[in-house]
């Protein structure tokens, strides 16, 4: 086997480039989709907290104290309240009211608070979306806590002098403990690695990876399948081209296009979302390895698909789990341990992890070298696999 010739590779690459250039629909897709996806996904994942959830508020306890609580709850941005008359009977029919939660203040609630036997508030939650339900309950709990704190402060202010006199007779240690119990214990949180706490900074590698994975795998998967479908593969094989030359020549134009796409997406994230990029050469290396891995995967799919339709179907079957399990948009830690092993098989997982380690953690190479090695190994395995399968087509 001779060394691949540059001239032969250039012929294949130029031909492949003409295919992309002549197929106006694909060209349009390549030019328009990445920026649109970036804007769409960027804004979609911008705010990660739940706001303005339509909710029902039924107050059956019309007293000034309750009104104070209602005032606090009304300021809670999590909810968009619809006040209903206290006579309503169907407060648990969330679907019928078109809301996701209903808060009911039972009759005699404020009296029960002052009588030393506090009644609970009633909260109906739409549990179909587990994340929202817990967020809503937590939010109500917090408003209630605020209300309770305020009530406690005003109660302390209005305590009769005798209580303080009595207090002074207590041992110092007990008094200190009592004071400590009366103040709110706090956590002094310092947020590292993402000081602005912006989700967009986290999700940018996910967006880059997702778009590139989608385009590279599907486009690449079609290249050899298309030649097989149109019969040109035989014509290609009776030339003096070696398999290596065909594979490299086919990869090059798609690699060039993908690199342009990475630049476009990064520029847009920087300009529109003010996402910063740390150590660009390292990020470029991560992107390159990821692209090679994805293109190799597409090529592999291409070599065992008989038609372009099959190639697209295989690509979709491969890409579906990748999108959900790769940790592109949510931390892998949310997944059970067993599933996480599956995630490790996807190039997108390693790409996102390495990209975040560099760009958010500003981590040193020893933290992400494993991911780079995995991506490189993936690229090599898929290329060799594709060349091997291409050899099988000959027989």
């Amino acid at each position: 086997m001779k060394w691949p010739s540059l001239g032969a590779i250039a012929s294949v690459a130029y031909k492949e480039f003409l295919h992309i250039y002549r197929d106006r629909r694909v060209l349009l897709l390549l030019l328009i989709l990445p920026p649109i996806f970036t804007l769409l996904f960027g804004h979609a994942f911008e705010a990660s907290e739940v706001t303005a959830v339509g909710s029902l508020l039924v107050n059956r306890d019309n007293t000034p104290l309750t009104q104070q609580f209602i005032d606090i709850v009304s300021k809670n941005k999590t909810f968009q309240w619809w006040k209903e008359s206290p006579d309503i009977k169907s407060e648990s029919d969330l679907l019928g009211h078109g809301v996701q939660a209903a808060l009911v203040v039972p009759a005699g609630w404020s009296d029960s608070l002052t009588n030393g036997d506090p009644k609970p508030l009633l909260l109906y939650l739409d549990g179909s979306d587990t994340n929202t339900a817990t967020a809503l309950e937590g939010s109500i709990q917090q408003s209630l806590g605020d209300f309770q704190l305020k009530e406690r402060d005003s109660m302390i202010e209005t305590l009769p002098e005798e209580v303080f006199e009595l207090g002074k007779k207590l041992p110092v240690q007990v008094r200190k403990q009592f004071v400590s119990m009366m103040t709110l214990w706090t956590v002094d949180g310092k947020i590292l690695y993402n000081p602005k706490s912006r989700f967009i900074d986290y999700v940018v590698p996910g967006i880059i990876g997702l778009i590139l994975q989608l385009l590279t795998v599907t486009l690449m998967a079609c290249t050899i399948a298309r030649e097989r479908e149109s019969g040109t593969l035989y014509q290609l094989m009776v030339t003096s081209l070696q398999r290596g030359e065909i594979v490299i020549g086919k990869i090059l134009p798609y690699l060039t296009v993908s690199i342009c796409l990475v630049v476009v997406i990064m520029a847009l994230s920087w300009w529109h979302f003010k996402v910063g990029f740390y150590q660009p050469p390292v990020l470029a290396l991560i992107c390159l390895l990821f692209l090679l891995c994805s293109l190799g995967l597409g090529l592999l799919i291409s070599t065992f698909s008989r038609t372009q339709t099959q190639a697209i179907q295989f690509s979709v079957f491969f890409l579906l789990p990748v999108f959900v399990l790769s940790g592109a948009f949510a931390p892998l830690e949310q997944l059970p341990q067993a599933i996480r092993y599956v995630s490790e098989l996807f190039p997108l997982t390693h790409f996102c992890r390495a990209f975040r380690l560099v760009n958010m953690y500003h981590a040193g190479p020893r933290f992400y070298i494993v991911d780079l090695v995995v991506l490189l190994a993936g690229a090599l395995i898929t290329f060799i696999g594709a060349a091997f399968l291409l050899k099988r087509i000959e027989q």
């Binding site: 012929s11 197929d23 019969g231 014509q235 009776v238 003096s240 081209l241 000959e394 027989q395």
Partner: protein, 316 residues
């Protein structure tokens, strides 16, 4: 005698239970226009693909210019051009781009490429269409382009798989004129075809049936393998006569040619003598009779239908 360009030595290939090609052995001398004839599925394309190194022979060997067609296929491929049965150039590329691509892929040196493409554009009469996408060319011009691309590395041998099927007579003639020119330049041409008139144009013809080679000789000597003279009769009404005669025990087959019937029979003289004595079909009118020279179609029919008794089984 010069070295043969193609040597087949007990070449065989089967796909599952189907024996596509069985034990083919023959040689083709340089400068030959070899016509490979056979029905669909007879093994023509499989043989050609094995020779092109696209299919791995199950057993036996073949060589092109003394390179093994499988083991040394990369070297063998520098010696031939291949025009597939289906149009298989890049439809979205222009004529010129197709030429350039195949030139680069066949490692034609850049300094020679433009000059050679210019010559091939002239040869295939595609000068005016150089910037047209290959997909928008008509069937005939597409085939000319495919032929041109197969010649881009100036190979001494050309494989053509049914190059004229589905073409109009004008383009068929054009393709054949081109093949004659190439043959005149000393190139060897290996062509499969269904058309018997095209078989007559070859300098040598091979018949393949169910993967076996039945005969291989020049068209003239193949015709001389016809043992008996061939009986042709004019009869009316034509179609009922064809069906009735075909079913006679002394007749192997009947074929219709320009309004007359050709009778393939082991002993046509005796048959005709009997008919002169007493014509057995009162409702059919025998209008005339003559003895004719068999053409390639008659020879092919006899070989492919296994009418052994009308063939001399010695030559070939």
């Amino acid at each position: 005698m010069t070295e043969p360009v193609i040597v087949l030595n007990h070449l065989s290939k089967s796909f599952g239970a189907v024996n596509a090609v069985q034990d083919l052995s023959f040689t083709i001398a340089p400068g030959t226009i070899f016509g490979f004839l056979g029905a669909n599925g007879a093994g023509k394309t499989t043989t050609m693909r094995m020779l092109c190194g696209l299919v791995n022979p199950a057993s036996g060997k073949a060589a092109i210019a003394s390179y093994d067609v499988w083991k040394d296929r990369h070297l063998a491929r520098t010696k031939f051009g291949y025009v597939a049965q289906r149009f298989s150039l890049y439809r979205d590329l222009t004529v010129l781009e197709n030429f350039r691509f195949f030139g680069g892929a066949c490692r034609v040196p850049g300094t020679q490429l433009e000059e050679r493409i210019g010559r091939l554009l002239g040869l295939t009469d595609l000068e005016k269409e150089r910037d047209t996408a290959a997909g928008s060319l008509s069937g005939g011009t597409r085939q000319l382009l495919a032929l041109g691309c197969a010649l881009v590395h100036d190979p001494p041998l050309l494989f053509l798989d049914e190059p004229t099927s589905g073409l109009d007579p004008v383009h068929r003639q054009q393709i054949w004129n081109l093949l004659y020119d190439l043959s005149h330049q000393g190139k060897t041409i290996f062509v499969t075809t269904h058309y018997m008139d095209e078989a007559e144009r070859c300098t040598e013809v091979g018949f393949i049936e169910s993967g076996r080679l039945l005969a291989k000789a020049s068209p003239r000597s193949l015709k001389s393998t016809f043992r008996a003279r061939l009986l042709e009769i004019d009869i009316e009404p034509l179609m009922p006569a064809l069906v009735r005669l075909r079913n006679l025990p002394d007749v192997l087959g009947v074929s219709l040619r320009s309004g007359s019937l050709r009778i393939y029979a082991p002993d046509p003289e005796k048959l005709m003598a009997n008919w002169r004595k007493s014509w057995p079909f009162p409702d059919l009118h025998l209008l005339g009779e003559r003895w004719v020279e068999p053409d390639m179609e008659d020879v092919f029919t006899a070989y492919s239908q296994g009418y052994d008794s009308v063939l001399k089984r010695s030559t070939s």
